[in-house]
């Protein structure tokens, strides 16, 4: 085959393309970064689950993963650092017909956003949270995150991290999430399936996706590039559905337990709220109006 530079074109369209703001391509993510890979899985899940795209809203915070909101062709909101979940809560409560996805990173969701993460899980707000966990604060240059494994080198722990790190599936399960899964960017089809499952679920769903940050986390810790990391995920991941979440903590080079850990049913926030009002107020309870849909020219 020739080494020419002509695009190879066939009659088809990239399945992810209808979901992308192609006028904003190429994106800013680094070579070997896994965030784009997760977007492919997300797009496939949207197709598979036949979700009405007009009812979908995507909310992200600040960080590399936070930029997903700007690249997807949906009603999308790039909010403040750590506050995607409360913003998403407001959206959902004002318009319960919306399917609200929160797509953000580990630092955004579990550090500055940690309080909102646990309360939304506790309340069982009907949100689908995709947490891309690259074990670092990438956008700002590679600082320690609550998820950074011990003995890693980061820009704020130049002599190695020593803090215990969060086990996110364990945290959100304890807080009350009804669907908790973890995959890596190697597990493209399983991730897509997990996102589709979360769309079928009513309540707080949390999907953690372990992803490479070749420029910062991997490079500073001499763990190779994005491809090396994907091979590590392939080799060291162990699928253990239903694993007790206290056993799925991560280390720098150790085993990565993946799978669906929690899939349970609890009434979601809005069901509980309406139930309580109906019980206490009876006939006096007035349902919130549906938002008016304007007439477009």
């Amino acid at each position: 085959m020739s080494d020419s530079l002509i695009d190879v074109v066939n009659a088809g369209v990239n399945p992810v393309e209808p979901f992308l703001r192609t006028d904003r391509m190429p994106h800013i993510w680094c070579p070997g970064c896994g965030i784009g890979t997760t977007v492919n899985s997300f797009a496939r899940a949207l197709v598979e689950s036949k979700i009405d795209l007009g009812s979908l809203a995507l909310v992200s915070g600040i960080g590399c993963t936070g930029r997903v909101a700007g690249y997807v062709k949906l009603d999308s909101f790039h909010t403040t650092h750590g506050r995607a979940i409360p913003f998403a809560t407001g959206l959902k409560l004002a318009n319960p017909r919306l399917n609200v996805v929160v797509y953000s990173g580990d630092g955004d969701l579990s550090a500055i956003g940690g309080n909102h993460l646990i309360h939304a899980a506790r309340r069982n707000i009907d949100l689908k949270v995709i947490c891309v966990n690259n074990l670092i604060y990438a956008m700002t240059g590679g600082q320690t995150a609550p998820t950074t494994p011990g003995h890693s080198t980061t820009s704020t722990n130049p002599y190695g991290t020593f803090e215990p790190s969060f086990n996110l599936p364990h945290l959100v399960e304890a807080a009350g999430a009804v669907y908790v899964a973890r995959w890596t960017t190697f597990h493209v089809r399983q991730l897509s399936r997990a996102i589709s499952e979360a769309f079928q679920k009513k309540g707080f769903s949390f999907i953690e996706v372990i992803s490479p940050c070749p420029t910062l986390y991997q490079r500073r810790n001499k763990l190779g590039d994005g491809l090396d990391t994907m091979k590590y995920y392939k080799e060291k991941s162990k699928v253990r559905h239903g694993s007790p979440t206290n056993e799925v903590g991560l280390t720098m080079t150790g085993e990565i337990i993946v799978g669906k850990f929690v899939d349970r049913d609890r009434p979601d926030y809005q069901t509980l709220m309406r139930g309580q009002f109906q019980e206490s107020l009876g006939d006096k309870f007035v349902e919130q109006d549906e938002p008016e849909v304007p007439v477009c020219s």
Binding site: D3, L5, N10, H27, R44
Partner: protein, 86 residues
């Protein structure tokens, strides 16, 4: 005729190597050519082995490659082939 065919947008590629590594049929390899950013995009070395599974597309973080299954319409495929060789 191969079961599938690959489509590549060379200017979006960042040579991460995911598609080459994870294609189950080893259809791809990184070429020695450069795009304008200095990256080596992949090229199709074994087109006859492509099954159209689109794992390359699912792995690509830059949305620079995807594959589709050939529909079995030989005329349509021939036309697309001609298109690609222009």
């Amino acid at each position: 005729m191969a079961k599938g065919r690959v489509s590549i947008v060379v200017e979006h590629c960042k040579s991460c190597g995911f598609c080459v590594e994870f294609c189950p049929s080893h259809v791809l390899a990184l070429s020695s050519a450069f795009n304008s950013k200095g990256y080596h995009p992949p090229h199709v070395v074994h087109p006859e082995k492509c099954s159209g599974c689109d794992l390359c597309g699912m792995y690509c973080p830059d949305f620079a490659i995807f594959a589709t299954k050939n529909s079995g319409d030989k005329a349509g495929v021939k036309a697309a082939d001609k298109e690609g060789k222009k």
